[in-house]
């Protein structure tokens, strides 16, 4: 297919100008899902960089006991911003908005998503939310200091600019909903002829489950955040104990969204891993239906476990037990996925390439994240580690080691498709190695600290916590070195990389059938599907023919 430039739709690749407008304007008015994906990528990596720097500052302050560089007030703003930016501006839109936008229509064999204009609108809404979030830093009462969770009643009392930050989160929720609606419709309506639901690539399944969560859960937090604003303005008292309100209710509503949303972050990453493993093992995936359905199971059970964020707030003991047992249920479909991934490597013909290494890094780090989650799920042990550095460590293992690394894996896997260039393999592997070492040096001590009893969101700490804190800070420097090397390697490839073939990794899903980078309308020849998504027989036959 790489040579087929003669299709009726061919006008060059999507990176080149087409249509009436040129240059920047052509990008800002595009409805091409690929360009929108890239626009998301650029905006997100800007915010990611900012939030990583904030994280490094946090670690720097925590390197030694006592206040070294910032005041407690500034420290509180640092972790609030780090959280708000990472969650709302980076990891929630993360894989869906960047990789989902780019890859989903290609994998389905479609020209675009169902609502291209809405797709562009979602990007602008995202930017609007981001601008509001940034404005909240400089306008009014100062940088928000509530933590990304905006817990009442502290968020109602704080003199900082909470209302604007909360409104920004509300607007960003809209963007997320728009993406979700678009993806569900696209998956229902625009699958290539012959592609039944159970012939869809697993990444699409991940996105499908994710999109449902975005559509159903986001409005709940939307209204909750609006009510926080109303409460600050009008004193309606829903969450204010002084008016007969219940701060625990705020936490319920907040986590009804914010727990499912961690699956918005992780499910697409799991989808990415389910793509990468079969490709590099050169064989079909093990337990396709089990992996696909476990995504849906995680999405549904994910709605029923939010209470485990609240085991110490004074919920009824019955509720604590119910939420504890439901929490353990989530572990089961997650386990199914991990075991099926392992089995996919069995009797494969494995090529060790950077995307595979990132995928395996995901499995390792996410397993630590998932297994430490069991400690949080069990009531007796959660009481001790709740709101400590243990939870921070667990969260970063799942979200950064999971969703973040999943995104890096996706970038290394699809970069040649997106830009039509190969990155340097050796450098990519080095970056991966440094990152993995740095990651564990950074976050493993947090697990230890939490068990020792170090609470989270502490600007200062008792001397007995010093050694692990110091090690963790050193880890942050290693991790950032790995990140810089990775990003530099990828960016350099856009200009200086070797041209990439249509299918550099021997992938079997539809995106590999079109050129790299894809043409404006994705496929010169609209594909049809006759087999499951990971059927390597045609590839093998072609390779055998070549070998002769």
């Amino acid at each position: 297919m790489a040579e087929s430039k003669t299709g009726p739709a061919w006008t060059g690749n999507y990176l080149q100008d087409y249509g009436r407008r040129r240059g920047l304007m052509a990008w800002l008015t595009t409805t091409d899902h690929k360009r929108i994906g890239l626009m998301y990528m650029m905006a997100m990596f800007f915010f990611f960089t900012v939030a990583v720097m904030l994280g490094v500052l946090i670690r720097l302050e925590l390197m030694n006991p006592g206040m070294q560089y910032v005041t407690p007030r500034v420290y509180n703003s640092l972790f609030t911003l780090h959280g708000v930016i990472m969650i709302f501006l980076f990891i929630v839109p993360g894989i869906p908005a960047v990789m989902g936008n780019f890859i989903l229509p290609l994998q389905l064999g479609a020209d675009d998503v169902s609502f291209p204009k809405l797709n562009l609108a979602s990007w602008y809404v995202y930017i609007a939310g981001a601008v509001l979030a940034l404005t909240s830093l400089f306008a009014g009462g100062g940088v928000p200091d509530t933590g990304w969770t905006f817990y009442a009643p502290y968020a109602l009392r704080s003199g900082s600019n909470v209302s604007l930050a909360v409104f920004a989160a509300f607007v960003l929720g809209f963007s997320s909903i728009m993406t979700g609606m678009n993806f569900i419709t696209t998956i229902h309506r625009l699958r290539a002829p012959g592609m039944g639901f159970f012939r869809m690539p697993l990444f699409c399944w991940g996105l499908y489950a994710t999109s449902w969560i975005q559509v159903i859960a986001t409005p709940v937090v939307g209204i909750t955040l609006l009510l926080v604003i109303m409460e600050r303005w009008l004193g309606i008292g829903f969450f204010d104990p002084a008016r007969g309100g219940d701060p625990v209710l705020y936490q319920h509503l907040f986590w009804i969204y914010s727990h499912p949303v961690v699956y918005v972050m992780i499910l697409p990453a799991m989808g990415v891993i389910s793509e990468i493993l079969p490709t590099f093992a050169g064989r079909t995936v093990f337990g396709y239906k089990a992996i696909a359905l476990s995504s849906m199971a995680i999405a549904i059970v994910g709605y029923m476990v939010w209470g485990h964020h609240m085991f110490t707030v004074g919920m009824s003991d019955t509720a604590r037990r119910v939420f504890s047992i439901l929490t353990f249920l989530v572990a089961i479909p997650t386990g199914i996925k991990v075991f099926n991934w392992m089995a996919t490597l069995y009797k494969g013909s494995i090529r060790i390439e950077p995307p595979l290494l990132w995928a395996l890094g995901f499995v390792f780090l996410f397993s630590i994240g998932g297994l430490t989650g069991l400690v949080n799920g069990a009531l007796a042990t959660d009481i001790h580690v709740h709101d400590t550095a243990f939870v921070v460590g667990h969260f970063h293992y799942t979200m950064f080691g999971g969703a973040g690394v999943g995104l890096f894996a996706a970038m290394h896997y699809w970069w040649p498709k997106i830009f039509g260039r190969m990155y340097n393999r050796k450098r990519a592997i080095w970056a991966w190695g440094i990152f993995m070492v740095g990651f564990n040096v950074l976050y493993f001590p947090m697990l230890v600290l939490g068990i020792m009893g170090m609470p989270r969101r502490y600007a200062d700490y008792l001397p007995r916590f010093h050694t692990p804190e110091l090690i963790s800070t050193v880890g942050s420097w290693i991790l950032v070195s790995g990140l810089i090397l990775m990003v530099w390697n990828l960016i350099r490839a856009i200009k200086h990389g070797e041209p990439a073939p249509a299918n550099p990794w021997g992938g079997t899903t539809l995106e590999w059938q079109t050129t790299s980078p894809p043409p404006q309308l994705n496929f010169a020849v609209a594909p049809t599907v006759t087999t499951g998504p990971y059927d390597h027989t045609a590839l093998r036959a072609a390779a055998a023919k070549e070998a002769q």
Binding site: A9, L118, I177, T185, I216, T218, M230, F523, V525
Partner: protein
């Protein structure tokens, strides 16, 4: 790197792919519309959860406070909205049957009923406002927590609903213009149909608000 013809069996040239004609997927659009309605439902859902929790906590105060609401106005407004839903489906039906003028008349009637709803709502709110029962108002502030909660919930929920009515009226206006200009027509009436779906959702929410606030005593 790989042989032409793709890797997923035979990639056939679909005849439709060659033809560049405008593509319409009404079922797709309708799917999107319903998904949007779900988000609306869940938006109100958050408030319903809050209502349920505080009704559980402040049952007696809720009953006390509900006496202050004007039941007649609430019921009248329910009739108004239900009727507007009827005129809305009739507008869609008329357009489907290619009776454009009739469709516009029904749409106009719906718009009028929506206005009527808002006028009654306004009278009701201003009566409350007059008595200082208003979010942040003196009287409301001084009420026992449970009753205050009832009225704050009342204003938040009917307020959010009222905003939806306003938006619905705006959409109806623009649809009417598009019917006139022929952009929405008997052969492509999806936009009117979706306006209807949205309007019925507004109605649906109100159906629940009626017993929760006006009939609680």
């Amino acid at each position: 790197m790989h042989a032409e013809g793709g890797t997923l069996g035979a990639a056939a040239v679909s005849p439709a792919a060659a033809a560049h004609h405008e593509h319409r997927d009404d079922i797709g659009s309708k799917t999107g519309m319903w998904l949007f309605l779900f988000t609306e439902l869940l938006l109100f859902g958050g408030l319903f959860i809050i209502y349920a929790v505080y009704r559980h906590k402040y049952g007696t105060e809720f009953h006390e406070a509900a006496h202050e609401l004007n039941k007649a106005m609430g019921v009248t407004n329910t009739f108004v909205l239900l009727t507007s839903s009827l005129t809305m489906v009739l507008a869609v039906g008329a357009l489907q049957r290619a009776r454009v003028a009739e469709s516009l008349r029904w749409l106009g009637a719906t718009f009028g009923l929506a206005c009527c709803f808002l006028v009654i709502k306004f009278l009701e709110w201003s009566a409350k406002h007059h008595h200082g029962i208003w979010p942040g108002g003196e009287h409301l502030h001084a009420m026992p927590p449970g009753e205050g909660m009832f009225f704050n919930l009342y204003f938040m929920m009917t307020g959010l609903h009222g905003i939806h009515v306003l938006v619905g009226m705006g959409v109806m206006g623009s649809i009417a213009a598009r019917i006139r200009s022929g952009h929405v027509s008997p052969s492509r009436y999806a936009a009117l149909e979706f306006t209807g779906l949205y309007w019925h959702l507004v109605d649906l929410v109100w159906i629940f608000l009626l017993p929760l606030f006006y009939l609680t005593n």
